[in-house]
Amino acid sequence: MPPIVSINDLVKTYPGGTRALDGISLDIQRGEFVVLIGLSGSGKSTLLRCINRLVDPTSGTILFDGIDVTTADRAAIRRVRRRIGMIFQQFNLVRRTSVFSNVLSGRLGYRSTWRTIASRPTSSDVAAAFENLGRVGIADRAFSRADALSGGQQQRVGIARALMQKPEVMLADEPVASLDPATSHSVMKYLEEINKKDHITVVCSLHFLSLARRYGTRVVALKAGQVAFDGKPAEIDERRFKEIYGEDAEEVEIGPDRPQPQPLAADGAEQVDPSR
């Protein structure tokens, strides 16, 4: 089978000269759970946003199911986007409106502008919204304001919104970086479920290597806009870890599923041992 996403020699230079991506080539197969790791600024977010062209790449090509995303016109790019779900570190919900209408908005790409303005969702969309809210376990909060929910719940609303698109690929930009360890696992498990049960390809950037090992079927490490590692999670040993994160980094575990014995100082991988 041809890869669902095929990236070839992708370069992104931001105005001001920052070279966020420096020749990335990557094939992602259907059904994979790809975890992107790397230091802040290594290009993870930019790479994810190039796939659905929230960011315009400078050069190179991205094929999504054979369609060249980099040259597609506006209408074509919208048709590609609705096949690609996305969730965000800051959840990016419309905070003042209800959970329900946030989830419904996942369907906008399939519906006419008129229907959006008239606030007339189809009955199948309404049914799908409740079904997806039920899947992520917050159907009872459907008519709460989005900002009344906890961080973990908001991220689950984000997943439900993306599921409304019936996506083939789910992009997740640091989906658990604003959440505590226990909540992180609950959100990651939903991603794992949609990957295994719905066969949605997941491309997810993460900070914790332990999460990457636990959930990923494949790990891609970026360093200064280039692929520094691409392989099975288990292949990342001490030496590779130092290659990716630098000599000073030390790995901090985020325990799988069990509550943490001591308060975690957020981000493990980037932290330098304070005792030195």
């Binding site: 929230l54 986007r81 990016n92 502008t113």
Partner: protein
């Protein structure tokens, strides 16, 4: 204090070397202020000679002997439309109409004056700059001056008042609205764009929910301000109850003037209270 430094052979900081009583900088500033005030007194020639305390108290007392005859038609030539309470209602509506006109103009312009919507290409960026400069110019010309200029076009009356008020207000509302749009969270825009929605759908689903409350709040605030300004317009020929106030003072009808002032105060205070209450609930 300076001993700490001299004892250690260190240079004494400037702050400690200066004596505030003899520092020539301070003395110069004080002398300049006194000089300006002295010259000002000479030039403006403020004469309070007429207002001896007894006279002032008498005049103020006259303002409180309210003349209720202005609340009903006073002779066969007057109708209820010439009564003070009707003029007051007319004045409130001057403010409402001015707000409505400026709302209609400022609302679409404010999107053109929002940086986060207009950046991206040089043409829209230029439009943004033009719109914001226009807002600033409109804002910087005082309402009364605009009304006086409009007298030349419309003649004295409500038209000059409403459009004069609206002119200034487009600048103020446009700026407030634009800044509300600039202050929205860009995250939901990105998320809705990622679902494959088109531009109008993104505005509808992600921008509008974020700006409705600030827009309503700013509109009520300007309505409040416009109703507060409307009674003054009559003084320069802009219509409304201000003209009656001006005339009754000139004709030494202090009882009528006092009652009109009281009505204005009650109206403005009520507006102020109601608008604050509504705005509080909108946050």
């Amino acid at each position: 204090m300076a001993e700490y430094f001299t004892a250690r052979g260190l240079p004494v900081p400037l702050e400690l070397r200066r004596n505030p009583l003899t520092d020539w900088r301070r003395l110069t500033v004080i002398a300049l202020v006194l000089l300006v005030l002295y010259i000002g007194l000479k030039i403006t020639n403020i004469d309070t000679g007429r207002a001896n305390p007894e006279y002032v108290i008498n005049r103020i007392a006259l303002l409180f002997k309210w003349d209720f005859s202005i609340m009903t038609p006073r002779d066969e030539f007057e109708t209820y439309m010439d009564t003070a309470w009707w003029k007051m209602i007319e004045t409130i509506f001057l403010g409402i109409m001015a707000t409505a006109f400026s709302f209609v103009v400022a609302l679409p312009l404010s999107f053109l004056g929002a940086r986060n919507i207009m950046t991206g290409n040089p043409i829209t960026a230029a439009i943004y700059a033009v719109v914001r400069v226009t807002f600033t110019i409109l804002r910087s010309i005082d309402v009364l001056i605009v009304v006086i200029v409009l007298l030349a076009i419309f003649g004295p009356g409500n038209a000059a008042g409403v459009f004069g008020l609206a002119f200034h207000n487009i600048g103020v509302m446009g700026k407030l609205y634009s800044e509300a749009i600039e202050g929205i969270d860009a995250g939901p825009l990105e998320a809705i764009t990622a679902t494959g929605a088109n531009r109008l759908q993104v505005v509808w689903a992600a921008v509008l929910p974020q700006i409705t409350n600030p827009f309503i709040s700013f509109t009520i605030y300007r309505l409040d301000a416009n109703v507060r300004l409307a009674p003054v317009l009559g003084l320069v020929g802009g219509g409304g109850i201000g003209l009656d106030l001006f005339q009754s003072i000139n004709l030494s009808q202090y009882g009528a003037a006092g009652l009109i002032i009281f009505m204005i105060v009650v109206t403005v205070a009520t507006m102020d209270f109601v608008s604050a209450q509504i705005r509080k609930r909108l946050v």
